[in-house]
Symmetry: C2
Subunit: 403 residues, 2 copies
C-alpha cells in the first residue's frame, strides 16, 4: 500500500475558459463555476475527489495570480503557499515544472536539514522557507532513496468532470502503486465511446504487459471524424485525459533530459524554491520559459510512458457540445441549465442562463443559447469551435460604421 | 382658429405590453420604455407631441393605478388629478367614456357655478371639486353653446410612433377645426404602404366631400394577406390609427345613443365627476362596465364618422416586426437596439438587449432575440403573434415533468 503522506496532487487551474463564453469569462473561468448546479465548482469537485487519497496539505493548485483569491475562498483549507501563481501563461510544461520544483523543495526540506518547525507554512499561510538552505544537497547529490523523497504525484486539470469518483480513485491508487515501483510516467486513457474529434488519442500496445497498464505507442493530435472512426474501431486508441501520474524523481529526470530549456531555468533558483524567495524568483524567471505543452515536451518523447485504460465517466468539459452530451435532455433533446427554458418547435438546443432566469425559445434547432453577466451567445452547436475567435474579436476595437 | 384653451387630449396608457415580452413587461410596459434610445419614453414622446397644440393642463392620461407613479415621474408637469385610473381593464370604450365624463365635469365647473378658486386642482395635485355641485345642471339641461363647453378632444394611444410631428399636429388642428364646426366623429386613417395584416382598415368614400376629410364607409378587422393586398390595391382603404377627434358634445351624445350600457353607468355619478368623490365612484362603478372597444361600440355604429387620410410616418409599434421595419439595419438586414450585437452568418434578425449588453449571434435568420430583466426570448419573427400566448403560459403553473 502507498504511504498516504507521500501522495501529492497538482491541479492546473489557469485556464481562462474562453470556449464557454459568456457563461465562463476571463474574470471567472469555467473551473470556478458551478456547472451542474450541485453547489460546488468544478475546482471544488476536483479537490474533493482527491481528498480520500491525498492529504490536503499535499495539494497544489497552479494558476494565474488573479485567480488566487477565488481559490482560497472556494477551498478555505488550502494555505496561501499551496497556490502556485504563474506570472504568465506558458502552457502545461512550465506549469508542471513549477509544481514539481516546489514539491521537490518541500521534500528536500523534510529529508534534509530543516527542523520540523522550519517546514511548511506560517500561520498566515505563507511559505516558511526557513534559513537552512545550506543543509540542502545540490540536485545531483539528492539521495532519492530517502523515504521523504518518495513522492507520488498526480497531475490533473481543475475543470474536468468525473462521474464515478470511487473508480477514479482506485485507478489513481493503482497508478501510484505502479509508478512507486517503476521509473514510469503513467497517464489515464479513457475508453472511447464515440468517434470524438475534440480529444487527442493515445495508441497503446495491448498485451505486452498485463495488470491493466500498457506501454504507450503514440500520442496523436485531435483527429478528423474519419480518423476518429478508425481509431474507435481499431480498439487500440484511448482518449488522452491529461491526467498524469509519476513519482518525483521520474518527472524531475524527465524534465532534465527531455526539456532542459525549462529545467535549466528552474535549476537557477533550485535553492530558493520552497522558501520565501520562491515567489520573486518565479516572477522574474517564469515568463522566460518557452510556451510548451507537457504532451509535446515530455509525453511524446519519453520512452517510459504507460497508460491505464479507464472508464469512470470522464469529460474534459471542453466545449458546449460536451456539456450538452452530459446533460439531461427533454423529449426533444433540449437542455436547460440553471434556468427555466420553455421550448416550442425547437430541438437539440442547450440553453444556459444565469440562475433563475426564464427563456422562451422557438423555432431553432441544435443551438447554443447562453447568457451571463451582460453577454449573450446564440450560435449553432456545430460552430462552437469558433466561439473563442469571436470573443477575441469582441475585445478588439470595433470597426467604424463606414467600413 | 381654434381657441387653444378648448383643446383637450386623452392619452390611453393602460396597455400591459405583453407582445414585446421580455423587453416590455406588465411591471413596465411598452409606453414607459425608451424604445429608440432617444432618452424619452413613448409616453413622453406622445405628450410632448401634443404640447404645442394642447395646454398641458388639458392633457389626461387614462391608465391602470399601478402605472400612476411611473407617469407622474416621467411627466412631472402632469398633476395627479390628470391621471385617470381605471380600476379594471375594460377596453377602449369605458376608458374613453371615463375621460369624456371627467372633461365634461371640468367644463361644466367652468361654465357653471364654480368660482375660479374652486376649479381645477389643489397644490398637491388632487381635484379640488369644491362644494358647488348644486350649481351644475343635469346632463339634459346643459347649454352646449356656452364657450366653456366647446371642448375639442383628441384621443390617442400612448405607445405609437409618429415621425413627422409637425405634419401630425397640422392634421390634428385640421380635425379640431372640422369637428368644432360639424357634429362629426373624426379619425385619422393612415395611407397604407404595404399589405399589412397587423392593422384594421377603414374604407372611405372618396370625393363625396373634399377638404381632405371623407365619410367613412366601413371599419374592418385585421385582414388576411390576400385581403390586405386587395385593400391596398383598391386605394379606398386606410389603416385604422386609433386616433380620434371629436368635440365634447358629439362624443357625449354618441355614448348616450350608441353605448347606453356604458353611458348609463357614468350617468349615475355624473355630479361626482370632477370632485373629490370621483375616484371612489369610479372604483366601484368602472369594473361593472362591459368590456367593449370604441371601434365596435361607437365608430362602427355612428353615422357621422369621417376620416382624414394622413401620412406622417406612423406606426402602432404593435409588434417586434413593426419595430424591426422601422429600425436601421446592417447590410444583412440585422437590427441591434440598445446593445452591441455581432452577427455571423445571420440575417434579418432583431436583437434587443438591456442597455450596454453584448451579443454574438451566429447561424440564425429572421429571429427576434430579446433579453430584459431576467428573461430571454428567441423566436422567429413570423411567429411573433404567439408571444403573448407563450408569456401567459409562463405565468401558469408549469406542467410536471411526467406529463
Amino acid at each position: 500500500m502507498n504511504q498516504i503522506n507521500n501522495n501529492y496532487c497538482v491541479i492546473m487551474a489557469g485556464g481562462i475558459g474562453s470556449r464557454f463564453w459568456p457563461y465562463s469569462r476571463e474574470s471567472k473561468p469555467k473551473q470556478f463555476l458551478d456547472f451542474f448546479g450541485t453547489g460546488k465548482s468544478l475546482l471544488q469537485m476536483t479537490i474533493d475527489r482527491f481528498r480520500p487519497i491525498v492529504p490536503i496539505e499535499n495539494v497544489f493548485v497552479v494558476t494565474n495570480v488573479s485567480y488566487k483569491q477565488h481559490i482560497l475562498e472556494q477551498v478555505p483549507d488550502l494555505k496561501e503557499g499551496q497556490i502556485l501563481c504563474e506570472p504568465a501563461r506558458r502552457n502545461t510544461a512550465p506549469c508542471i515544472a513549477y509544481a514539481t520544483a516546489h514539491i521537490r523543495a518541500l521534500c528536500l526540506q523534510r529529508a534534509y536539514g530543516y527542523t520540523k518547525e522550519e517546514q511548511g507554512y506560517t500561520k498566515d499561510g505563507k511559505l516558511k522557507g526557513g534559513s537552512s538552505e545550506s543543509h540542502l544537497p545540490n540536485y545531483t547529490d539528492i539521495d532519492w532513496s530517502k523515504p521523504e523523497m518518495q513522492a507520488n504525484i498526480v497531475v490533473a486539470a481543475s475543470d474536468h468532470l468525473i462521474l464515478e469518483e470511487d473508480k477514479f480513485r482506485q485507478t489513481i491508487l493503482k497508478a501510484f502503486n505502479f509508478i512507486s515501483k517503476n521509473k514510469a510516467i503513467a497517464t489515464l486513457g479513457m475508453q472511447p465511446t464515440r468517434p470524438e474529434t475534440g480529444y487527442g488519442y493515445i495508441q497503446y500496445l495491448k498485451g505486452t504487459k498485463d495488470e491493466g497498464i500498457y506501454p504507450v505507442k503514440t500520442f496523436t493530435e485531435k483527429p478528423n471524424l474519419e480518423m476518429a472512426k478508425v481509431f474507435l474501431e481499431s480498439g487500440d486508441f484511448l482518449w488522452n485525459s491529461g491526467i498524469f501520474i509519476w513519482n518525483l524523481q521520474t518527472i524531475s529526470e524527465a524534465f532534465r533530459y527531455l526539456l532542459p530549456e525549462v529545467a535549466d531555468r528552474f535549476r537557477e533558483g533550485e535553492l530558493l524554491m520552497g522558501t520565501d524567495k520562491e515567489e520573486a524568483f518565479i516572477e522574474q524567471m517564469f515568463p522566460k520559459c518557452p510556451n510548451i505543452s507537457i504532451d509535446y515536451g515530455i509525453m511524446e518523447k519519453a520512452d517510459n510512458v504507460f497508460v491505464i485504460p479507464s472508464s469512470f465517466g470522464w469529460s474534459d468539459l471542453g466545449t458546449w457540445g460536451s456539456l450538452y452530451e452530459l446533460s439531461e435532455k427533454d423529449q426533444k433533446g433540449n437542455v436547460s441549465l440553471h434556468s427555466e427554458a420553455h421550448f416550442h418547435e425547437a430541438k437539440g438546443n442547450i440553453v444556459v442562463l444565469e440562475h433563475g432566469k426564464k427563456a422562451i425559445v422557438q423555432g431553432v434547432d441544435d443551438m447554443i443559447i447562453a447568457e451571463q453577466d451582460g453577454a449573450l451567445l446564440v450560435c449553432k452547436k456545430a460552430e462552437e469551435q469558433r466561439i473563442k475567435q469571436w470573443v477575441e474579436n469582441l475585445s478588439s476595437p470595433l470597426p467604424s460604421k463606414e467600413e
